[in-house]
Amino acid sequence: MMKTWQAGKRLLPMTAALGLILAGCGREDLSVLRPQGPAAESSFDLMKLSITIMIVVLLIVFSIAAYVLVRFRRKPDQREMPEQVEGSFKLEVLWTIIPLILVVVLAVPTVKAVFAAGDDHSNDKNAIKVKVTGHQYWWEFEYTDYGVTTAQDLVIPAGKDIAFELSTKDVLHSFWVPSLSGKMDTNPDGTTNRFSFSAPNEGVYRGKCAELCGPSHGFMEFKVKSVSEAAFEKWVNSMKAPAVLPEDPALAEKFKSQCLTCHAAGDMPDLSSAPNLTGIGSRESVAGILLNDDTGVDGAPVLENLKTWLHDTAGVKPGNKMPDPKKDMGLSDEEIDGIAEFLAGYTLD
C-alpha cells in the first residue's frame, strides 16, 4: 500500500503539468477538461492520473521500439544468423510486475471514487431533489419539493447538492453536463438511476444527451443555470404564478386550445407530453438548440428563435413529436407570429 502511494506521489508533478496543458482545451461551460464542480473534478483527477501513467508507458514502448528499429536494421552485408533467443524469465516477470503495479496505482483511487460517486443524496435534507425525465428530444425537470416543473433549462442554486432521479418516457437517453459531472443514463421505470452533483460557481453550463435516441439525438441539448440562492427562491415563486395568456382573446383561445393541450404553463396542470412553457421568454434557448442571444454572436434573439421553431419544427429538430402549427393545427402565419411574440414576452422577472 505504502509502495503504491509513493509511486503515485512521484507521478504528481507530471500530473500537475498535464492538468495545466489539458485545461487549455475547450469551452469552460462544456469541456470535460475544464471541470467546474466537484463531481467533474473527481473524474478529471482520475483522468490526469491515468493519462500520466499511460504517457509513461507510451514513452517506454516508443523509445524501445525506436531504438530497436534503428539499432537492429538488417545491413546489406549481413549474412550470419542472429542468435535465436528463447526468452528471458527475468525480463518477462519484470514486464508482468510493472504493469500490475501501475494498475494498482490506478485501481485504488478508482475504487474510492466509484464509491464516492455512488453516494445517495436522495434522503439528504439539504439537497435539492430533481426528477429528470428524458423525452424524444427534450428534457423535463421536476422539483418535487417545490411543486415546480420546467423544461430545457435546469435552474439550480449554486453550491447546493442536487439529488437527481433519472428516468425516461420513451427510449434510453443519457444526462450529461460535461463541465459539471459525468453522465448517467435515463432508463425506463424499474431501473431508475440516482446521482448527484453541484455547481459551486454561478453560470450557464451546456448539457447533452449522450445515448443514441433517434434522429434528433444530437440536438437533445439543455442548459444548467447555476444562480444565487435568492435568485433560485425567486425563480421558484414566479414559476408558480398563474399562467399568462395572450392579450388578444382570439389568440388566447387558439393558444389554449391548440398549444396547452400538450404543453403546460404556470399553474395549469402539467401533462408532461410536451415541455412546460412557463417563462419561456427568459430561457437560454428555444427547443434546447436555438440559442437565445441578443448580441447575435452565439445565436439569435428569442423572438426570432421562437418564430423559426414554430414555422418549421420538423426542420429544426428532425423527427420531433410536436405537430406542425400551420399544417397540423391550422394556425395562420399571423397567428403563429402572434404566439411567438407573446411567448417571447412571457418572462419571469
Binding site: 470535460v32 521500439a65 536494421r73 533467443v85 466509484v114 421505470d189 444530437g218 428532425p318
Partner: protein, 612 residues
C-alpha cells in the same frame, strides 16, 4: 461453378477474402459518407435518419461482415498449411460456413434497397430497436441477417477447433504450434462461447419485433437493460475474437523479418489464454453509466484494467523479438512494426476507460470512438494488412508490389492517425458520439475537419492497395516456395500456391518453427513422416450453397410474414409462412440428400503425385 461447389480450404479462403473485401468496401464507403457529413457544423449533406442508418450499418458491417471474413480468409488459407494438414477437419462444413455467412451479409445489406436500413446503432439497444421506435424492417434485417451470418461464423469456429485439435502433423505438440495457430485456436474457442449469447439475444429481439413478445418491454414486465447485458456478454469477447488473430499475425511476421524466434513463446501462449478468459469477465465495462451501482462498477473496473497485464507482456515480447535481430522493412513488416505503437495507444486509452468514474465522462463520446478505432483499425486492420501482404504469395503465387505496398502503408497509417487522434480531444471537449451534426462555436469545427481529411487519406491508401492487387493479378504466378527467404513455419515448405492436397507427404515436426529448424540443420526440405501413398480428397458439392439459399429465403419470408402487400398472391405466400416453408424445405431437403447419398470422395494416386 467451380467456386460455388468447392470445399477446398484454399479456395474458400479466397472466397472469404472477396466477400470480406466487398463488405469492407461498403463499410468504408459508409464511413466516408459519415465523415463528409461531419466535416463542418450544421452540415446538411445527409439527413438525420440516413445518418443514423449509416452509422448503424457501418458499425455492423465492419465488425460482423468486413473484418471477420478477412480473418477467416487468413485462418482458412494458413492454418491447415501451418499444422501440416491436407485440409480442415470438415471441408463440407467449411463451405457451408462461408455460404451462410455470405447470404446473411447479403440479407443485411438488402435493407438499403428494401425500405430502410437498421437505425438503432450497431448495439441496437432496446427500446430504440423495438418496432415502436424503429418502424421500418431495418432492425429485422439486422436480427435475421446477423443470425444467419453468425451461424456461419460459429460453424467456422467449431471447424477450426476440430482441425487444430486433431489434424496437426506428427511431432507438432501444442507447445510447438505457430503463434498464429494458437491465436486462431483461442479465437475459435471464444467464438464457441460468445456466439450462442448473441444468438439468444437476436432471437429474443426477433420475437419482440415480429411475434410481439415482451422480453425487453418494461411496461409489460420485460427489462430493457437485459438486452445490454446479453449484447455485451457477446460483444466484449467479440472484440477479442477480432484482435487475437491480429496478435497471431504479428507474432508470425515479426520473427520472420527479424530473423529471430519469437521472444517468450510460452508467455505469449499464456497471455493469449488469459486475455481470452478475462475478455469474458468484463462485459459490464460498457455499461458503467447504465446504473449498475458502485460494487459492480468497481469490480468491472478492476477486472478490465487487469487485461492490460497480458497485453503488455505481448507488446514487450514483440519488441524484444526484434532486439538483437536483423530487421527488414518489407511491406508486411512495416505494417507489423506500425501496429505496435498504434495498438499500444489504443490499449492505454482502454485502461483509461476502465476507470469507471472517468468513464462517466468518456462513455458515448468521441473519446470512445477514438479508442476502439485505435484498437480495431490501428490494431486489427494493420495486422490484417501485414498478414495479407505476408501470405499473398502463398495464397496466389504472386508477390504484391513492394513500392505500392509501402505507399499503402504510409498513406493509410498517416491518414489513420489524422482521423482518430484528434477524436480523443473532441470527446474530452464535450462532443458526444452518434450525432448527425453539431452546433457551431463549440470548438469542434477544426478538429472535425482534420478528422475528415484523414479519413480521405485512408481511403487513398485503400485504393493504392486495390491497385496493387489488380496490377499483381496480371503478372505470372511465379512466386518461390519461400518468397521472404526467412520463412520459419510449414507453409513455406510447399509450392506457392500449394497443390490441392497441400503436402504430398505429411511432414515430421521436430520443434518450434519446424522449417527454420530443418534449414539451420542444413536440410532444404522437411523430413516426411509417411511414405508417398494415395491421398483421399473430398468431392465438390453444391449442397452447402443450396442450404444457405434456403435459409436466406426462409429468413426473408419470416421477416415479411406480417406485412400487408396489397396483393393477394404475395399476401398468401408470406402471411401463411409459405415462403418460409419453401426456404426450409430447400435447406432440410439438401441436408437429407447429404445424409442419404454416401459420397466417398476420390483419391489422388501416387503416380499422379510424382508426375506433376
Amino acid at each position: 461453378m467451380d467456386w460455388i461447389t468447392t470445399v477446398d480450404h484454399k479456395k474458400i479462403a479466397i472466397l472469404y477474402l472477396w466477400a470480406g473485401g466487398l463488405f469492407f468496401g461498403i463499410g468504408g464507403l459508409e464511413a466516408i459518407l459519415i465523415r463528409i457529413q461531419l466535416i463542418k457544423p450544421m452540415n446538411t449533406f445527409l439527413d438525420a435518419q440516413t445518418f443514423n442508418e449509416l452509422i448503424t450499418m457501418h458499425g455492423t458491417t465492419m465488425i460482423f461482415l468486413g473484418v471477420m471474413p478477412v480473418i477467416f480468409a487468413l485462418m482458412n488459407a494458413v492454418i491447415p498449411l501451418q499444422i501440416g494438414a491436407r485440409d480442415v477437419a470438415f471441408p463440407f462444413l467449411n463451405a457451408l460456413g462461408f455460404w451462410t455467412f455470405l447470404f446473411g451479409g447479403v440479407l443485411l445489406n438488402l435493407s438499403w434497397i428494401m425500405g430502410g436500413a437498421p437505425d438503432a446503432g450497431w448495439t441496437s439497444y432496446t427500446p430504440l430497436s423495438t418496432t415502436q421506435y424503429s418502424g421500418t424492417h431495418g432492425v429485422d434485417f439486422y436480427t435475421i441477417g446477423l443470425q444467419i451470418a453468425g451461424l456461419g461464423t460459429l460453424i467456422g469456429g467449431i471447424n477450426f477447433l476440430a482441425t487444430i485439435i486433431t489434424m496437426r502433423a506428427p511431432g507438432m505438440s501444442f507447445m510447438r504450434m505457430p503463434m498464429f495457430v494458437w491465436a486462431s485456436f483461442i479465437t475459435s474457442a471464444i467464438i464457441l462461447f460468445a456466439f450462442p449469447a448473441i444468438t439468444v439475444g437476436l432471437v429474443l429481439l426477433t420475437f419482440d419485433r415480429i411475434l410481439e413478445a415482451n422480453f425487453f418491454d418494461t411496461s409489460a414486465g420485460g427489462n430493457s437493460v437485459l438486452w445490454q447485458h446479453i449484447f455485451w456478454i457477446f460483444g466484449h469477447p467479440e472484440v477479442y475474437i477480432l484482435i487475437l488473430p491480429a496478435f497471431g499475425i504479428i507474432s508470425e511476421v515479426i520473427p520472420t523479418f527479424a530473423r529471430k524466434r519469437l521472444f517468450g513463446y510460452s508467455s505469449m501462449v499464456f497471455a493469449t489464454i488469459l486475455i481470452a478468459f478475462l475478455g469474458f469477465m468484463v462485459w459490464a465495462h460498457h455499461m458503467f453509466t447504465t446504473g449498475l451501482g458502485p460494487v459492480a462498477n468497481a469490480l468491472f473496473s478492476v477486472s478490465t484494467m487487469l487485461i492490460a497485464v497480458p497485453t503488455g507482456i505481448k507488446i514487450f515480447n514483440w519488441l524484444f523479438t526484434m532486439w538483437g535481430g536483423q530487421v527488414r522493412f518489407t511491406t508486411p513488416n512495416l505494417f507489423a512494426v506500425g501496429f505496435i505503437p498504434t495498438f499500444t495507444m489504443g490499449g492505454v486509452t482502454g485502461v483509461m476507460l476502465a476507470s469507471a468514474p472517468a468513464d462517466f465522462q468518456f462513455h458515448d463520446t468521441y473519446f470512445v470512438v477514438a479508442h476502439f478505432h485505435y484498437v480495431i483499425v490501428g490494431g486489427l486492420v494493420l495486422g490484417l494488412f501485414a498478414g495479407l501482404h505476408y501470405w499473398w504469395p502463398k495464397m496466389f503465387g504472386r508477390m504484391l508490389n513492394e513500392t505500392l505496398g509501402k505507399w499503402t502503408f504510409w498513406t493509410f497509417i498517416i491518414g489513420f492517425h489524422l482521423t482518430f487522434f484528434v477524436q480523443h480531444f473532441l470527446g474530452l471537449m464535450g462532443m458526444q458520439r452518434r450525432v448527425f451534426t453539431y452546433l457551431p462555436n463549440q470548438q469542434f469545427d477544426l478538429l472535425n475537419l482534420i478528422s475528415t481529411i484523414g479519413a480521405g487519406l485512408m481511403g487513398v491508401g485503400m485504393l493504392i492497395f486495390l491497385t496493387n492487387i489488380f496490377l499483381t493479378s496480371r503478372k505470372p504466378a511465379d512466386a518461390p516456395d519461400d518468397p521472404w527467404e526467412d520463412g520459419r513455419t510449414l507453409e513455406w515448405t510447399i509450392s506457392s500456391p500449394p497443390p490441392e492436397y497441400n503436402f504430398k507427404q505429411t511432414p515430421l515436426v521436430r520443434g518450434l518453427d519446424a522449417f527454420w529448424k530443418e534449414k539451420t540443420s542444413g536440410h532444404k526440405t522437411m523430413t516426411p513422416a509417411e511414405p508417398v501413398g494415395p491421398i483421399h480428397m473430398p468431392s465438390a458439392t453444391i449442397l452447402p450453397f443450396l442450404m444457405s439459399v434456403g435459409i436466406f429465403i426462409a429468413g426473408l419470408g419470416f421477416m415479411f410474414s406480417r406485412d400487408d402487400f396489397g396483393n393477394a398472391f404475395m399476401g398468401f405466400m408470406f402471411n401463411n409462412y409459405l415462403v418460409t416453408a419453401i426456404g426450409l424445405v430447400i435447406t432440410f431437403g439438401s441436408m437429407l440428400l447429404r445424409s442419404l447419398y454416401d459420397d466417398h470422395g476420390w483419391h489422388i494416386e501416387p503416380e499422379e503425385l510424382e508426375g506433376r
